[in-house]
Symmetry: C2
Subunit: 362 residues, 2 copies
């Protein structure tokens, strides 16, 4: 089988050009005699790889100098704990906007460490919309408000950042980072797993205000969970996930070459709009997310019945459109349109939707 | 430059055959239409990859059914914290044999959580030997004795396991796993970073007695640091480091095809012996580790003066023998002879040592 259009919510498609470059230099990187898979993280070539990756990311995200950039392991799931452990004392108050599956997990982990208050909880609408957050809802003594910028499972997103008043904003941008413009300056801390828009799984990017590194931490916090240690050691306190950093660096360069995050957002917004329009023009398809809160990265929809959904998924699979099944607790379908998805993939999905709809009408 | 012989302590050389296979299927794994770098960890092909990797590892290490095998992130450094958090209550007594740099770090992290007692401390000899551990040295109420099986920095190893009496043995085998036979049954828990004998960086393997998963943990322990969660979810609680698991699986198969860990040990012991013999037969070279405690994975040595060491390192570099510089706190040289190092690389190093020695004699 040729390469398929993989609509997985992550890990997800990487640009073919990036994969081809990685393939070409897999046995011998840049003539240095070793693969990136086997070179010491203390070697000159790897030092250049990690420095370039950080510099490119800083350019494409316009990250100000007063923010540190860390390349870590453990995914967003480990950040759920690192954020409270690094930003607060045990028992301190923190605030969480619970807008989905992963937002809820972040809140629950926050509650292991402190007094984590859920300021909104979208569960009543089955997370189909993003409840408004206003400064009045946030406890004034909260160390931060945590949001999940884009909810992969439900296909919703903060299309404008909430007004947190004087409370610092912490955001999990795993499924939208590099896919749309994020104003770093409005955040105290941003984190994201790489496996959607940035590269393969196994790498987590954390961007945080340097002043947050100066806190004295509870001695119980493991060294590996301390941002300040990783910042001080340039993400090399221990052996980093070298190959994932290298791949992410190639993706960062690809984004820059293709017009930067601004161009990515424009392209992603246009094709998500085309897909939503196709779904809305059909009788048998229905988008799941509230219109104002729709994500441009993950488009969730359903058909009339679970049987019809299964029929559609089988048809799509037959056309090389894979991983379109919705999250297990939601059902229906989900099309993740990350940067690595070619335009042809989105067009093929829209074709498939139209063909299915026409088949049902006749 | 052609591929070099890279003697790095890790990440380190992978078998060329493994790299070539990975290169061949990098754009399209097994005809499924996606790269392993971009496929969903919930997909059928990846499920097969992770199941095969575990099954092969169980065969080559003869891991009994009553042990769980976990594929995690964070390296040995995160295990330093996960071990005490999962095996003891806060404040409980644990025992550590401090035989080197990483053993010391494990002890220090243990002390963040509990009463971590150093039962031996090799620092007085600059860690050149492994002090004997006897049951009398270990506090009877210790939840475990932690050892670092192979000390990468100092080139020492436990060539026989210590007698711990009734205290469970926990071992960091990062730099010898698959390089020599480890009797799993004698351990309560084994952990190892992948980046020496198993694959690229970004993967940590944990092997532990299943009964250890039944403890009720302190609620402060982050979900991501709980062995039981990862065991229950088949190492898929969150997105695992997919590509590193795939590469490790290829390495496990390569080990099996080449006679298993028993054959690896035989080969590694023979070539380490040849290297030690060459060093001992020279006037200007001197092995650093005490003879009885020498590692067959990391051979540490020095020359008469730092200048002579630098001269030798430059000569080796010119012959395509790289990353031979000793750890920064030790100096001298270190040759790591992991499974991925071809015999020709060890022969070339011995040749280089002899040529340097002869050059100095004439």
């Amino acid at each position: 089988m040729d390469r398929v259009y993989n609509f997985s919510a992550g890990p997800s498609m990487l640009p073919l050009e990036v994969l081809e470059k990685a393939q070409k230099e897999l046995l011998n990187y840049n003539g240095c005699g070793s693969s990136v898979l086997e070179m010491s993280h203390r070697s000159k070539p790897f030092e250049a790889i990690v420095n370039n990756a950080e510099a490119t990311l800083r350019r494409i995200m316009h990250i100000p100098d007063e923010y540190a950039v860390l390349f870590l392991q453990g995914g967003a799931s480990l950040q759920f704990s690192m954020v409270p452990m690094n930003l607060t004392a045990q028992g301190a108050t923190t605030a969480y906007a619970v807008t989905g599956q992963f937002a809820k997990k972040a809140w629950e982990e926050g509650a292991r460490w402190g007094n984590a208050v859920a300021v909104t909880n979208g569960k009543i609408d089955n997370f189909a919309a993003i409840p408004a957050v206003t400064p009045e809802l946030i406890p004034q003594d909260a160390a931060y408000l945590h949001i999940t910028g884009n909810n992969t499972v439900y296909g919703t997103a903060y299309n404008t950042l909430p007004d947190t008043g004087s409370v610092p904003l912490v955001a999990d941008w795993s499924s939208a980072i590099l896919g749309k413009v994020i104003d770093v300056k409005k955040h105290a801390l941003i984190y994201a797993g790489a496996q959607k828009n940035m590269g393969p799984a196994g790498l987590t990017v954390v961007i945080l205000r340097k002043e947050l590194l100066e806190r004295t931490l509870d001695p119980i916090v493991p060294t590996m969970l301390q941002y300040a240690i990783h910042a001080d050691k340039g993400s090399m306190y221990n052996t980093p996930p070298c190959f994932s950093i290298y791949m992410a660096g190639l993706v960062f360069e690809w984004v820059e070459k293709n017009g930067g995050v601004e161009a990515m957002e424009q392209r992603n917004a246009a094709r998500a709009a085309a897909l939503y329009k196709a779904l809305e023009s059909c009788d048998h398809f229905r988008p799941l997310a509230a219109k104002k809160d729709r994500s441009i990265m993950n488009v969730t929809f359903t058909l009339d019945t679970p049987e019809m959904t299964a029929e559609f998924l089988a048809m799509a699979q037959g056309r090389g459109l894979t991983s379109l099944k919705g999250y297990r607790t939601v059902g229906g379908c989900r099309a993740s349109l990350y940067n690595g998805m070619p335009d042809e993939g989105v067009a093929a999905l829209i074709d498939c939707i139209c063909a299915f709809e026409i088949g049902k009408r006749t």
